[in-house]
Each structure stands twice: as C-alpha cells, then as structure tokens.
C-alpha cells in the first residue's frame, strides 16, 4: 500500500487497534490531522489543554489496560504534555505520545515552535524515538507500542518531524506486526529455583504478610493473587496503587499501608517475620524510615523490573518475572506441597491482627454538624453500589477516597500516586468514561486540584461524558494545611484559597449541572440525584469541614509503629 507519512500514522493506529487518540492540533501535526479527517475508525478526542490529553489517555489506559494514545504539536504542545507523561511514567502506565516536530532540515536552528522533545522527555519516558525518515514510521510506531505495553509498562514518545508526514510523498507501508528488538527482551517467566526458595520461606512463616502494589493491577493478576492469598490464609495489605486487585471488603485484607495506611496494616508490617512483596516498589510513602522497616522480616520480592528489587530495601529472595506467571507457578506449588502453613501459629497471628484492627483507626466524628469528607466518600460508595470507577486528584480527598471507598475490583481506582499530579482527576475521568460509556464514573477532587485542569469540563460537554465530579471543598489546600498544622506550628502559608469561583455557576456555564451541598443530611440525596442523571455531567460542590485531617498518619522518616491515630488517640 502506498501512503504518505501522515496517512501511515493514521493507518498504523487503525492497524494497531487504537480506538481513541487524545489530542490538540498545531502546525507540526497538521498533515497528520488532515489524514485523520474523513475517517472515523480512530476517534479523535479534542481536549482543551495538552496536559488534559495525556491524563485522559492515561485514565483510559489505567481503566482498560490498553495503551493510551496522545497526539500533540511541537514546542508548546510537547511541553504541555510533559506533566502528563511524567505522571504516567511514575505509575508505569502504557502510553504512546506522538509529538510533532519541526521539519528535519530546521532541527537545531531554533525554528518556530521547536523544542528538543526527545531531550526534554528523556528522563520521564520508558523510551523515545525521533523519526527521521517516513520509511521508518511504521516500524518505529510498532516498537513504541511494543515497548510501552510489555515488561514494566510506561510512556513512549515518538517525535515526528513535519517533512516525514508530507502528503505529497507516498511510500510503501505494511503493518509490521510482531516486532523483535535485540536490545529489549523483558523477562516473563521466573527462575524455578527462585520460586522454590520462596515457597520454602512462605510455607514456614510464623507471622506472614503479603504486601502488593500496582504491579498486580498492571499484570492483570488479580485472580491469581486472590487464589494465592486465600489458599494461604495470610493477611494482605495493598499500596495506594494496588487497591482493588484484592477485594478490599474481604476479611484477609488489612487495608492500605504506609503514610496514611491503617494501623493494622502498618503494625502487621512491623511485626511480620516473612514479607511477600508482589509488584510493589518499596516507595518512601510506604516504607517510612527504611532502617526501621520490617525489622524482623525475611523478604521475598516479585517484580518484573530488576531495578525495583533491592533498590530501597534489601530483599532475601528476589524473583524477576511477570506476576501472573509467578503466582500461577506458586499456586501450583502450594497445591503440590506437603508442607502447609502452621494453623496454630497463623491463628495466633490473626488474633494479634484483630486486636490491632479493633482500634478502628479510620473512625471519624459522625455527629458533626459540618460535612465530613469521609462521610461523603462513604455515601459515594453506598450510592454507586461500590461499583464505580473513581478517579482522584491529589490531596486529602485522595487519601479519604482510598481509605473510605473499598475497591473490590482492579482498575476501578485511578489516581496519580508516584508523581502526585494535581489536575489529573477530571481528564482521567473523561478517558475512563469514554472507555466505559455505561459505567458510573466519579472524580473525587478538591477545590484546588480541580482548578488545574478545569478547562476539560468543555471537552466533557463536547463528547457528552456524564462524569460525576465530587468536589470536597474545604477552601484549603488541605494536605498542605495539614502539614503546616503539624510541622509548622499552624502557620498556614499560602494554603488558603481565597477568591474561589462559584463552582455551581461555573459548571453551568460549561453546560453542565451544578449543585452545592452544605448540610450532612443532604449528601446522600444529592449523590442519588446526580447519579440518576445518566447523561449529564454533574458537578457536586460539597462544602466540607475545613479542619479535618487525614489519619492515621506516619510522619515522613518515621517507622511503621510510630503512627498518629488521631488528635485524641495519640501515638500507638
């Protein structure tokens, strides 16, 4: 087939099975936009800011497991996309970002709208490419999708100079199909020796603990994890990124761990003697002080990326491989093994855990005259039957959502954990709603975060995406205020949000429904009313208690056993 470079890009996306491209046009990509016109196989979603495009593609990718695709122009188009690329990179999300570039003969001349996109994005991509010849477009794009979606996933940038998409130069194109790269061969199957060494340790544990993360979600290994955990009868905790892979409402689940994790999860980490880490990267929000981390434990770590292993915490049994494969092998090994976990010791361990659990660390004041953010999330869970896709921005509201919306399925909880990008929630929700038009999609946000990508309300109207925005409006950058209260003697330096817009009117001016909710008694009704409006975006502005803090909390650099439970119930 003879096609121009621009047509190759579009034909390739069709051949690759790409449903949606999130983009924004400009000079360097106009040939590609022209090729997008007059076809409807690849649907283009026009955002209002390139950051929105990257987050929307990212939300789509997190919810579906398929790569998100972005198309932006050179220069400012590319730089606007950087925050979203870095966000995806930190959470290992598969994306392909096509950036236009000035024509090859102008590269390096400070041409109009020229930036070194490959250079700027290099530290926050899994890989990137500059395509110098139209003949290379097909292969390079295929490599980009291959790299983005295999091994430890991540964003890949393909920088395409304008002349390589010239509509007047036609060249041969055929979809490349499976591609081999000698320099890139991610491991899938783990070494059997490593697995049997791990099984030995797992089955002889006295106080075992399973600690899982985003890798389980990325590996689509939820079923294998459930089988593994149930067969062993061991306690499990999940990171912020792992939530949903193991059902949160199950009794073996101790909740999230880490800085704002539950008392029982963190104490069990501190006291365990064998830690089974699965697709989690020992982030500092999770470990606290690494010197005090799991002091008694021998550690097994399953991860597809060798560089995640023994990076922050030294482990005893490293297992490099894809979780789905490794857990399948382990489940077989458990079945075949004569050795079983010691029921009596395990029972004692559970009694200890239940004692920690009985502290009920997520308690909050239910009789408050003000709307408590936790209460809104609980009601959101109730009204949506626990079955919504929930995206979030960054701050206290994010932690409340993680703590009070028990996710029972993977890919339902969609948030920026690694980079912590305010502005993520709304565009991500649009991507999710496009992927699942008939599902309930809520965006839990704060009045500060929502204003960072507010403009995407306009995109939502254009494509009729009936997302429900749950704005926990505390008139503060609550998370910042909390740190200032604790660590800066309540000097609230620049964390109060003056001059807030009237969110109801704002939503209405974008063509949506706005609601303001000021009384606890009105919370449930408002949520029900909003979710009943199946084809409308509803912006719910909940005026919440300004002074509420997120508990439990481990201050940065402290150990798991040094948690704050709440102002009344100090250090455990």
């Amino acid at each position: 087939m003879k096609l121009s470079g621009a047509e190759i890009v579009v034909q390739f996306l069709k051949d690759e099975g790409v449903e949606y491209v999130f983009g924004y046009p400009g000079g360097a990509v106009l040939h590609i936009y022209d090729a997008l016109f007059n076809q409807d196989k690849v649907k283009h979603i026009l955002v209002r800011h390139e950051q929105g495009a990257t987050h929307a593609a990212d939300g789509y990718a997190r919810a579906t497991g398929k790569p998100g695709v972005v198309l932006v122009t050179s220069g400012p188009g590319a730089t606007n996309a950087v925050t979203g690329i870095a966000t995806a990179y930190m959470d290992s999300i598969p994306m392909v970002i096509i950036t236009g570039q000035v024509a090859t003969q102008f590269i390096g001349s400070d041409a109009f709208q020229e930036v070194d996109a490959v250079g700027i994005t290099r530290p926050c991509v899994k890989h990137n490419f500059l395509v110098k010849h139209a003949e290379d477009l097909g292969d390079t794009l295929r490599k980009a999708f291959h790299v983005a979606t295999t091994g430890r996933p991540g964003p890949v940038v393909v920088d395409i100079p304008k002349d390589t998409t010239d509509p007047n130069i036609k060249i041969d194109y055929a979809y490349p199909g499976e591609i081999e790269m000698r320099s890139y061969q991610p491991v899938v199957k783990a070494h059997p020796g490593e697995i049997s060494r791990a099984m030995e340790l797992i089955l002889s544990a006295r106080r075992p603990m399973i600690y899982t993360g985003g890798g389980v979600v990325l590996s689509n290994a939820d079923a294998e994890l459930i089988e593994f955990t149930r067969k062993l009868g061991y306690p499990i905790t999940q990171t912020l990124m792992g939530l949903g892979a193991y059902p949160a409402s199950d009794k073996q689940h101790l909740g999230m761990l880490g800085m704002h994790g539950t008392y029982e999860a963190n104490m069990a980490m501190h006291e365990c003697d064998v830690l089974i880490a699965i697709g989690a990267r020992f982030d500092d929000r999770v470990t606290g002080d690494v010197k005090q981390f799991c002091p008694d434990a021998r550690i097994i770590h399953i991860d597809i990326d060798p560089s995640s292993i023994s990076k922050n915490v030294r482990v005893d049994v490293p297992i490099v491989g894809d979780i789905k494969h490794v857990l399948t092998d382990m489940n077989k090994a458990i079945k075949a093994s004569k050795k079983k976990p010691d029921a009596k010791l395990l029972d004692q361990w559970w009694q200890q855990i239940d004692a920690w659990r009985s502290k009920n660390c997520l308690r909050y004041d239910r009789n408050s005259a003000l709307i408590k953010p936790q209460f809104v999330i609980e009601k959101l869970h109730e009204v949506t039957g626990g079955d919504a896709y929930v995206t979030s921005d960054v701050g206290q509201h994010q932690m409340f959502a993680a703590q009070f919306y028990p996710f029972d399925k993977p890919r339902r909880w969609i948030n920026s954990g690694g980079l912590g990008t305010m502005g993520f929630g709304l565009p991500a929700a649009l991507g999710v709603q496009l992927a699942y038009p008939d599902s309930q999609v809520a965006c839990v946000t704060g009045e500060a975060s929502i204003q960072m990508c507010m403009q995407e309300l306009s995109t939502a109207l254009q494509y009729m995406l009936p997302v429900k925005v749950v704005n926990l409006n505390n008139r503060y950058m609550g998370m910042v205020r909390q740190w200032q209260e604790f660590f800066y003697d309540s000097r609230y330096s620049h964390s109060y949000l003056d001059a807030l817009p009237d969110f109801v009117k704002l939503a209405e001016s974008y063509g949506h429904v706005g609601m303001r909710i000021e009384q606890p008694g009105d919370v449930e009704g408002a949520l029900k009313e909003a979710f009943a409006m199946k084809d409308r975006l509803v912006f719910m502005d909940f005026i919440t208690d300004q002074t509420e803090n997120v508990y439990p909390m481990i201050a940065a650099g402290k150990g798991h056993h040094e948690m704050h439970l709440s102002p009344e119930r100090e250090l455990a």
């Binding site: 530290p123 790269m181 890139y184 060798p306 023994s310």
Partner: protein
C-alpha cells in the same frame, strides 16, 4: 569501589545522552566514559568507569540494563581484565636538558614522542590510569602545556567476551 562497566548499545542518535542522563539524574559517580562504534556498525561500545557501594553499583548495572538501547553489558572489573587509557601530553622543551630528561622518562614509561617542534614535544602514553598519573608525577609539572586523556577502556582476559 571502582568498577569498569562495558556495554554494547544500538548505534543510534541520542544513545550517549541516555547513559549520561541516567548518571546525572540518579546522582551516580562517573569517572570517565568512552564510546566508539564497533566492527558491527550498528553497535557502539561504551566503557564507563564509576565508583560506589555494592548497592549503588548493583543499581547502576540494573538501570543501564533497563535502557531500551542497551543490548548487553558486563562489569569487566569483576574478573581478570586489561585496562588501558591513552594520554597525550604536550610539554615545553626550553633547553636540551629538558629534552633529554623528557626523552628518558618517556622511554622508562614506554611512551613515544609523536611530535617535535623547537619548543615542544607531544608524548603519547598508554596504560592504566595510575601509570599515566605516575608519569605526570614524574615529569616537571611546570613543563606541561596540556594533557588529553581518552578515559579508560578495557576488555576481559581469556574467553570471556562482550558480544551478541
């Protein structure tokens, strides 16, 4: 501990910047870095001399291996190996006395004089880094006009080899 990491990577534009960027972004030490194409034009071979604790070296190794352009790598300082660096030193030769002394030192260190003018010599020397340092220490520092060093390269002895 000092380590010499050899790696083969795709000979693509920007490949060098990925390695250099990795070292600066993650705050790893880099003593020297050399790179040149190999007999297979599609591959470049790079030699990186770095130092750090065992944990850091392990991370450096894993992070380099993770770069999509890197085909294979080895820590050649782990086993028997040969390390060589090339140095050229331009020295001033104000009188016969200095000429004689520099010639003598060059011979002792098995170097060569590549260029001679009325006032200068260019001396070439190869060896490991400490030999080159020793030479610089042995001659009169006042006479040195400029020095240029290639950075270390190395190869494992015997059958061990870095190839694909």
């Amino acid at each position: 501990m000092r380590h010499i990491i050899s790696l083969l990577m795709e000979n693509e534009a920007g490949a060098l910047s990925r390695v250099a960027g990795l070292f600066s972004a993650r705050g790893y030490n880099i003593e020297s870095l050399t790179v040149a194409p190999t007999e297979d034009a599609s591959l470049s071979r790079m030699t990186i001399v770095t130092s750090g604790s065992d944990e850091i070296i392990e991370q450096i190794f894993k992070q380099l291996n993770k770069l999509v352009d890197v085909v294979t790598l080895a820590d050649i300082s782990e086993g028997n190996h040969i390390e060589r660096e090339l140095m050229m030193v331009k020295v001033s030769t104000p009188s016969d006395k200095e000429r004689a002394e520099l010639k003598r030192m060059t011979d002792i260190f098995r170097g060569r004089i590549l260029d001679v003018t009325d006032e200068t010599y260019i001396i070439e020397l190869t060896g490991n880094g400490s030999k080159l340092d020793a030479f610089l220490g042995a001659i009169d520092a006042q006479l040195i006009i400029e020095t240029v060093r290639s950075g270390a390269t190395g190869v494992a002895r015997g059958n061990r080899a870095l190839r694909i």
